[in-house]
């Protein structure tokens, strides 16, 4: 039992840290609230969806920005999507970069865009890592017979 409690505490601390560092925001808490007996894996499902979606979008962005003549409208549309997804799950830092990214798109600033793309990729992999760690912790708690603290 001790182990479970410890794990739970670890989870809470870790989550708090993520919030503090701005990786996640209140929206993520909302998602967690939606998880219940009828929907036990809601958060994991949505986040997995986010991962898939984002990876696809980042690839698209890389391709589009790699072209000779960049189609900024297309870039903007991808970034818009990414912004939407990240804001839906509360990936705050990714969302913020996207906002800056869109501004560069409007200005048709290729360099700015490329820089942003890099930034977005970074932020994305960071938040992905964090979330995956989070989920692992949760799994451990569940495996140990405990329940996930809210």
């Amino acid at each position: 039992m001790d182990g479970v409690v410890q794990l739970q505490r670890q989870l809470l601390d870790y989550t708090a840290l993520l919030f503090q560092e701005g990786f996640l925001n209140d929206q993520f808490t909302q998602l967690q609230q939606l998880q219940d007996e009828t929907n036990p894996d809601f958060v994991v499902e949505v986040v997995s969806l986010f991962f898939e979606d984002s990876e696809r979008l980042l690839n698209e962005l890389a391709n589009t920005l790699d072209q000779q003549s960049i189609d900024f409208r297309k870039v903007d549309s991808h970034v818009h999507q990414l912004k939407g997804s990240s804001s839906s799950i509360g990936a705050q830092r990714v969302q913020n970069v996207c906002i800056a990214f869109r501004n560069f798109c409007d200005a048709q600033n290729t360099e700015g865009c490329l820089k942003c793309l890099q930034q977005v990729k970074n932020e994305y992999s960071l938040v992905k890592n964090k979330l995956e760690t989070l989920f692992k912790l949760e799994q451990q708690i569940l495996a140990a017979g405990g329940s996930i603290p809210m």
Partner: protein, 618 residues
């Protein structure tokens, strides 16, 4: 002495007596010869005489008799044997023929007599058929009459058309040979033939108005039988061979259109009338029946109502208000309800020279249904019908309370009523009463007195249609202090969002609140999937390449009535302030900023379901 082989007349006798006999014989012969000639002439004229051979026989008999008498003339003096022989032959022949004729007549006379009785029988049969036709017509009569009136009320108030149609309809209903309307000329001294049924363009035939028959017709509001020889009835050449049909004339009250006073209702004494003349077909056994006369009187009376210009001339303000709890659809007899409305409102307009007319309609609750005016009216409530109560209040001339009970009686007249009805006989209200009763309701008029206006009230029972829309919005907030509902079980929601992640999140939110969620990722899918079952549709209006407003408009186009369509809530990620009017214009009921929290979603749904309206400023 010469033997002359002559025959002496039997009696030498008197010269005088002989002379008279001679003359009589001559005339007898003359008559006897002319009778067959007359017979031949007249029988040739008529086609129907059945016994021609009898005539021949008779003719022969008469001719021979005549011959006998003629030859007799020769026997007064001395005559030769030949003459006697001829005489004898003639007599013998006459004897033979007359005996034969006598024998024949024994057979024929009964036949001839029976022809007469057959004729009488046929006449009776024709009268009976006519009576039966009259009964059939009675049944059709009311329907036709009302149909004609309302048809004319609804169509253009073109006086010429209305008068012509009145004549045509009357002619058809009563199967008349001719129908004519004589209008008074400008001078008022003559009547001019203005409209007839059969002739397309009647000649402007005029007759002076001062005629005893015309005066008789004008002095009473009943239909009067007049002689077909009267100048007003001599409209066409005698069509039949024997008998012109019976003619009836009735007065048609008219407004003095040339000097129409707006505030001054025309006095009865200066009334002008037109004359309507109706002729039954000639050579028929038809007679005017009481119910037919009644119909004619009613129509003549109502024609005035059709050609009067009414509210457009008077400055009347008509307002109507419908209670918000009235259902949008009801089951009932639309035509008859329309007729009742037209009649009641028409009366209100007719008897108000100025002021207001207000029409209110609401659902009658049981307390108000039990009225002192209708003590025996016990409405029974049920789930599939409701009672509609309509009140038409006017600020017109009002009614003396004593006369109220007579209002609904056909043809009732009284002193004050006469002024009110201006020549009309109030048939309209009688018809209304009948219809309202048929609809399981009641109609009455209240008035505080003359000059104080009146209110006509009627209640009718209408059905509520079976409609799946009944289950449209059952989510009214529970009766609790917390007006924000915590759960929305079974609320059908459609979410349109092209972003997979945010779609899942929104769906999760709604599912958490108990909704039944469908998601689509494109506007086309949304339009395809959206149906009357969906209560709310969440639209992401920030989808690139998609105009959210456009989608909203197209969703509403799918539903014929706004109330059938779902509530629309726009989800937007940007913080631009768009005016509420823009959203309302396209039929969007609410706007919410993404991302949406559970609490926010809960309150959004509560508000938009309760008020059909929510706008959040960011």
């Amino acid at each position: 002495m010469e033997s002359c082989n002559c025959i002496d007349p039997p009696w030498p006798g008197d010269e005088l007596l002989m002379k008279y006999q001679y003359i009589s014989d001559f005339f007898i012969a003359l008559a006897y010869f002319s009778i067959p000639l007359e017979l031949i002439y007249f029988v040739k004229k008529s086609a129907v005489f059945p016994y021609r051979w009898v005539l021949v026989q008779f003719g022969a008999f008469i001719v021979l008799c005549g011959a006998t008498h003629l030859i007799n003339l020769w026997t007064f003096g001395m005559h030769s044997r030949n003459v006697e022989v001829v005489m004898t032959t003639a007599k013998v022949l006459t004897a033979v023929v007359s005996c034969v004729t006598a024998l024949m007549l024994v057979h024929i006379i009964p036949d001839l007599l029976s022809v007469k009785s057959r004729e009488l029988f046929l006449k009776n049969k024709a009268a009976e058929l006519d009576r039966e036709m009259g009964l059939i017509r009675t049944q059709e009569e009311t329907g036709r009459h009302v149909r004609m009136l309302t048809h004319e009320i609804r169509s253009t108030l073109d006086r010429h058309t209305i008068l012509k149609t009145t004549l045509i309809e009357l002619g058809r209903t009563l199967s008349l040979e001719e129908c004519a309307l004589w209008m008074p000329t400008r001078t008022g001294l003559e009547l001019q033939l203005s409209y007839t049924l059969r002739q397309q363009n009647p000649v402007g035939f005029t007759i002076p108005i001062q005629h005893p028959v015309i005066n008789q017709v004008f002095s009473s509001n009943r239909a009067v039988k007049i002689s077909p020889n009267c100048p007003v009835a001599r409209l066409r050449p005698l069509a039949g061979k024997y008998m012109p049909g019976e003619v009836v004339a009735v007065r048609v009250p008219l407004l003095h259109l040339s000097n129409f006073q707006i505030n001054d209702w025309p006095e009865l004494s200066t009334k002008r009338y037109a004359l309507m003349v109706l002729m039954l077909p000639s050579d028929s056994a038809r007679q005017w029946h009481v119910h037919e006369l009644e119909l004619v009187e009613v129509v003549a009376d109502q024609v005035l109502n059709l050609i009067k210009p009414i509210a457009s001339v008077k400055k009347l303000f008509i307002s109507s208000s419908l209670a918000p709890d009235l259902p949008e659809f009801a089951v009932g007899d639309e035509n008859r309800l329309m007729q009742i409305m037209l009649n009641v409102v028409g009366n209100a307009v007719k008897f108000s020279n100025e002021g207001n007319i207000s029409i209110i309609a609401f659902i009658a609750k049981s307390e108000s249904l039990r009225d002192s005016h209708a003590p025996d009216f016990f409405p029974v409530h049920s789930d599939n019908h409701f009672y509609l109560r309509v009140q038409v209040k006017d600020s017109g001339s009002g009614i003396d309370p004593q006369d109220i009970s007579k209002l609904f009686t056909k043809f009732a007249q009284s002193q004050s009523l006469a002024a009110r009805n201006s020549g009309g006989s109030g048939l309209g209200l009688a018809i209304c009463k009948r219809f309202v009763n048929l609809m399981g309701g009641h109609i009455w008029i209240e008035s505080e007195g003359l000059g104080k206006g009146s209110t006509a009230v009627f209640i009718v029972k209408l059905g509520i249609p079976e409609c799946s829309n009944e289950s449209k919005l059952p989510f009214f907030p529970n009766v609790s202090a917390n007006h924000c509902q915590t759960n929305f079980p079974g609320l059908k929601v459609l979410v349109m969002d092209d972003n997979g992640v945010s779609r899942s999140v929104t769906k999760g939110l709604l599912v958490h609140l108990g909704c039944d969620v469908t998601t689509v990722s494109s506007a086309d899918d949304c339009l395809r999937v959206v149906s009357q079952e969906h209560n709310v549709v969440f639209l992401d209006v920030c989808m690139p390449g998609v105009d959210g407003y456009e989608v909203a408009i197209r969703i509403h186009e799918k539903f014929t009535k706004r109330r059938q369509g779902p509530l629309l809530v726009a989800l937007t990620g940007n913080t631009d302030r768009v005016t509420k009017e823009n959203y309302l214009r396209v039929g969007i009921n609410g706007v919410v900023l993404k991302p949406v929290s559970v609490d926010k979603m809960r309150s959004v749904l509560s508000e938009v379901l309760e008020h059909r309206f929510l706008f959040e400023t960011c």
